[in-house]
Symmetry: C2
């Protein structure tokens, strides 16, 4: 198994945290995004989507989304469970993970990629060029606030996002990297807890 | 187990197709979205997100996204596998399902919800009001074309989206309901096959 990573890029971090919480170490290859190595012919043969993270299995199959890679790892190494040890927990965790992706991750991405100069004609993740739309900066920021408010309320009752144990939902939320407001006490408590784990350092 | 459905709404159809492919029938309650029944106090007690689909388990826990519900059903009723019978297939299927959601489902939704009069201040799924942005109609249509082109190419080599068996990735793609261009022969072949299955009628 070989993990194609880039230490300075946000996307592979979700997989690194997932692996760290599982206690698994994998042979890792750094792909130099700064020098556009992901666009090389050689890397295109490994991952035709020219993106990291990618996980090459021993039989040569390559997984190429952080979601797909995490599900593979969960099924191959069930303990400790991060996507639910039983059907009910799997459903609840995937409910929350979907909501965090849709309402958190996409909101933050919308505000950032429509503003940053380096994403001028690349406002959406993926191989196609799309121009920035200034209205999406405002909308993305508003959606981010709404998301943080929802998460703060949820964490009033739950130690971790899906209950008493850490799950992929916490990893996805931590990965988004949004700073809570001072008055969001539950979110702040959760952030300190997550940030104190060894997996937050990877 | 009780399934909160609305026959005329698109979102619950993904779960209905998933259940049909599993050969499972569930006690079903129709929620009358036409008369805003989802916003009633009574329904809010069942699903605080005021949305369908929702699945109430026998212990009272309610799942409330189509993704979470499908993962619950997959874990509770593993046969026939729709999210992968082994770790590698689960990873590959989730890779493809994530791509179909991100690049297909969101693209179609973007074009539709920013145009339709009935979504004037409700351009995003969820409880918050967001104004329509006309530029997203054009962008959504372009992204949809790019998505269909990718899917057509993928289906040149695969009978179903993730290989020789139907999976949640096919259900998600069928659920999006985009009509292929005449020259997209692989996509047309796949559409005919999917549409001839009993699960396409639910």
């Amino acid at each position: 198994m070989k993990f194609y990573d880039c230490e300075t890029a946000p996307s592979p971090r979700r997989v690194r945290m997932f692996l760290a919480e599982k206690g698994i170490s994998v042979e890792t290859v750094q792909v130099d995004l700064g020098n556009q190595e992901q666009h090389s012919e050689a890397f295109g043969k490994i991952n035709p989507f020219h993106s990291v993270p990618a996980l090459e299995l021993d039989n040569g199959v390559v997984l190429n989304t952080s979601v797909g890679i995490c599900h593979y790892i969960e099924a191959a190494h069930p303990e400790p469970a991060l996507i639910g040890a039983d059907p009910m927990k799997r459903g609840q965790i995937m409910d929350l993970d979907a909501r965090i992706e849709q309402e958190g991750f996409l909101a933050v991405g919308e505000a950032f990629r429509n503003r940053a100069k380096s994403f001028k004609n690349n406002a959406l993740v993926g191989p196609h060029q799309h121009a920035q739309i200034p209205e999406l900066i405002t909308r993305g920021k508003l959606r981010t606030q709404q998301f943080m408010h929802w998460l703060d309320q949820l964490l009033e009752h739950n130690e971790f996002i899906a209950g008493s144990d850490i799950s992929i939902a916490d990893i996805t939320a931590k990965w988004i990297k949004v700073e809570p407001e001072e008055e969001q006490v539950h979110l702040n408590r959760w952030f300190s807890e997550i940030n104190s784990r060894p997996s937050a350092k990877v």
